[in-house]
Amino acid sequence: MFQFIIRRTVGALVTLILIGAATFFLFVAAPSDYASLACGKDCSPARLEDIRQALGLNLPIHQQFWDFMSGIVMGRDFPTGHCSAPCLGQSFYSGDMVWSTIMDRFPTTLTLTVGGAVVFVIVGIGAGMIAAYRRGTMVDKVATSVSMVLSSFQIYVLGPLVLLIFVYSTGWMDNPAYHPITDDPWKWFTGLLLPVLVMSTIFTAQYTRMARSSMIEQLAEEHVRTARAKGMSNRYVFFRYAWRGSMIPIVTVLGIDISSMLGGAVVTELTFSLQGIGRLAVDGAVHKDLPLTMGVMLFGAFFILIVNILTDIAYAYIDPRVRLS
């Protein structure tokens, strides 16, 4: 297991470097030139050269890439000041350090992700399991049809609808916004309640369906039948024997969902005008801001890789065949 984690971590680092390289060269190879964009209409060659120099765009490309990547571990000096260790460069557009921008935005995304995940893991998987346990009954039918309807909604449909009802018409709630939990936990909670609920509603429906079908599949397994043949009660068989196997596909999807949400829930953030990582990624692309885009990309990729490793560890925990082979 230890060897496995080491090997995966090394693999993840290599992947990060490759992703960085790919993003960087794609961006550089793109036909637009940030310097001439920043220079504006009345641009003189001398001014263009100044801008290039200021942004480091006059250096050879591999040098630029090296500066960026080495800055992440060693920090970097810019004319505007020092950028310490996890330095993702300085935004072309705003001139802010990318790392501190990301750190400003991250709590919003983290709150959305964790809040959403808590809701859809507990409610979604719970409802799916209950539906499977009471298969064919009214409970099952209600859970199945409700989740069917909800999972076909989209955030950009449900979001404005909810805003209209709870914020604009009735005024029951303020416009969604992030407030640091350290300032006022209640404001933190209520501030992002609507986005979290809207986002997790759709995920919950998907997880209900997935948990139900996965559970039903497991209940048909021969080893589950053997457990019943031993006289174990239905409840015991359900929660000890069938449950474990049904978790494997769920953990897989959960890993993908959480890691992509940590990298920015673009649609949710745009729908509710929140300032999260997803918004940042859009800004970077719109403004052709190479350091910002690179930073957000690597930040997202980092989470994908971490969550991937965690998913594999979860597999090993669930299934001894993974652990012992």
């Binding site: 060897q3 080491i6 090997r7 090394v10």
Partner: protein, 378 residues
């Protein structure tokens, strides 16, 4: 059936013909295992097939028997070149095809066909029976007299299916009928050798005999040679003139049917035969020897040194661990009956004075039962 399918059948020549159709020498397949830390590398190999010698004469049926993991299926796949041999030599009709390229292999491919075990997964569910049987002809650009469709109908009739069913899909057929479709497909290219990998073991008892009889008919009438791979010794006995017994990647005994089934010499062959459950019709009880091995077949990753059967053999001595017994004609054997054993058994399958029971649990239970009850010898 059109007579252009008929090859000179070698009737009556039970042994090897002078010029074998297929000759396999030292055939070896090792599947590498990767592992290790920090960099993965080859750490070992599954020695699935390890130096197999085998010949199949023109029109002859050779049975290849053994338990799971003995490498019999891998051998079949190597011969049909679905797998690339690690070592050894495969000669088909005088031509070395061991590492023949796709292009070199093309003419041979049509002459060596395969029938698979599972009639459910080996037929494409989205193709009609007609196109399944026709496709080998299309791939090889063969245009038989009267057209491909006529030929397909002839083949369907030959394997005992209604030619009208040309446009049906595999799921409309039962398991036995699907296996007939598989046979028809194999016959489409007028092969000279068919490698049949457990062709009847997925079928019900009453259906098995239908397919065995069909294969027998095909063999007799069309003079096609068979390599019949199966774990069921009774079926193989019924179908094959010569039989090779495999254990852990090696042939331990080979000979004509009479030698293997009535005069076996290798202890493993004895054990295998004695394990076959036979219907005791007249109620006299079996007059066959009773041999009960212990445990399962060892892993082919680290097979025992010397003779691979020695870990489960009741006759094993020190020599068996150090010297690998060669597959030779030992004294008392008929010509062509080869055995790889240092200490062969007597050539009989009759009951012994004392059963060979290697399994510790069986021994304990039987000893306890014997000491409990008053000895009533029958």
């Amino acid at each position: 059936m059109s007579d252009n399918l008929t090859l000179p059948a070698q009737q009556g020549s039970a042994g090897t013909s002078t010029e074998p159709l297929l000759k396999v020498e030292g055939l070896t397949k090792h599947f590498p295992i990767y592992g290790g830390f920090p960099i993965k590398r080859k750490v070992g190999a599954v020695q699935a097939v390890d130096g197999v010698d085998l010949t199949v004469g023109v029109g002859e049926s050779v049975g290849l028997v053994g338990e799971s993991g003995c490498g019999k299926s891998t051998t079949g796949r190597l011969i049909t070149r679905l797998l690339e041999p690690t070592d050894g030599k495969i000669t088909y009709a005088g031509q070395d095809i061991t590492h023949a390229s796709r292009r070199q292999l093309a003419p041979v491919r049509s002459e060596i066909q395969m029938i698979f075990q599972d009639p459910y997964s080996s037929l494409n569910p989205r193709q009609t029976v007609g196109s399944i049987i026709k496709s080998p002809m299309e791939v090889n650009g063969i245009e038989p007299e009267g057209g491909q469709e006529k030929k397909v109908r002839e083949l369907l009739e030959l394997v005992g299916l209604n030619p009208e069913h040309y446009n049906r899909f595999p799921h409309e057929f039962s398991g036995g009928q699907r296996q007939r479709i598989g046979v028809a497909r194999a016959l489409a290219l007028q092969p000279k050798l068919i490698v049949a990998d457990e062709p009847v073991s997925a079928l019900d008892v009453s259906i098995q005999a239908q397919v065995v009889n069909l294969l027998k008919k095909v063999q007799d009438e069309l003079g096609i040679a068979f390599l019949f791979i199966a774990h069921d010794l009774a079926v193989v006995r019924h179908f094959s003139q010569r039989v090779a017994v495999m254990y852990l990647g090696k042939v331990v005994e080979v000979g004509d049917r009479e030698s293997i089934y009535n005069r076996p010499r290798h202890p493993y062959t004895h054990a295998l035969l004695s394990a076959v459950p036979e219907v005791d019709i007249d109620g006299t009880g079996p007059n066959r020897e009773r041999i009960r091995l212990s445990g399962d077949v060892p892993s082919p990753i680290l097979p025992p040194s010397g003779c691979r059967f020695r870990t489960r053999c009741w006759k094993a001595q020190d020599k068996c661990a150090t010297d690998e017994p060669p597959l030779v004609q030992i004294s008392g054997n008929k010509a062509g009956h080869l055995t790889a054993c240092h200490f062969p058994e007597d050539p009989t399958t009759e009951a012994r004075d004392e059963d060979v029971v290697m399994d510790p649990a069986l021994l304990a239970l039987e000893d306890a039962a014997e000491s409990d009850t008053v000895p009533t010898k029958d």
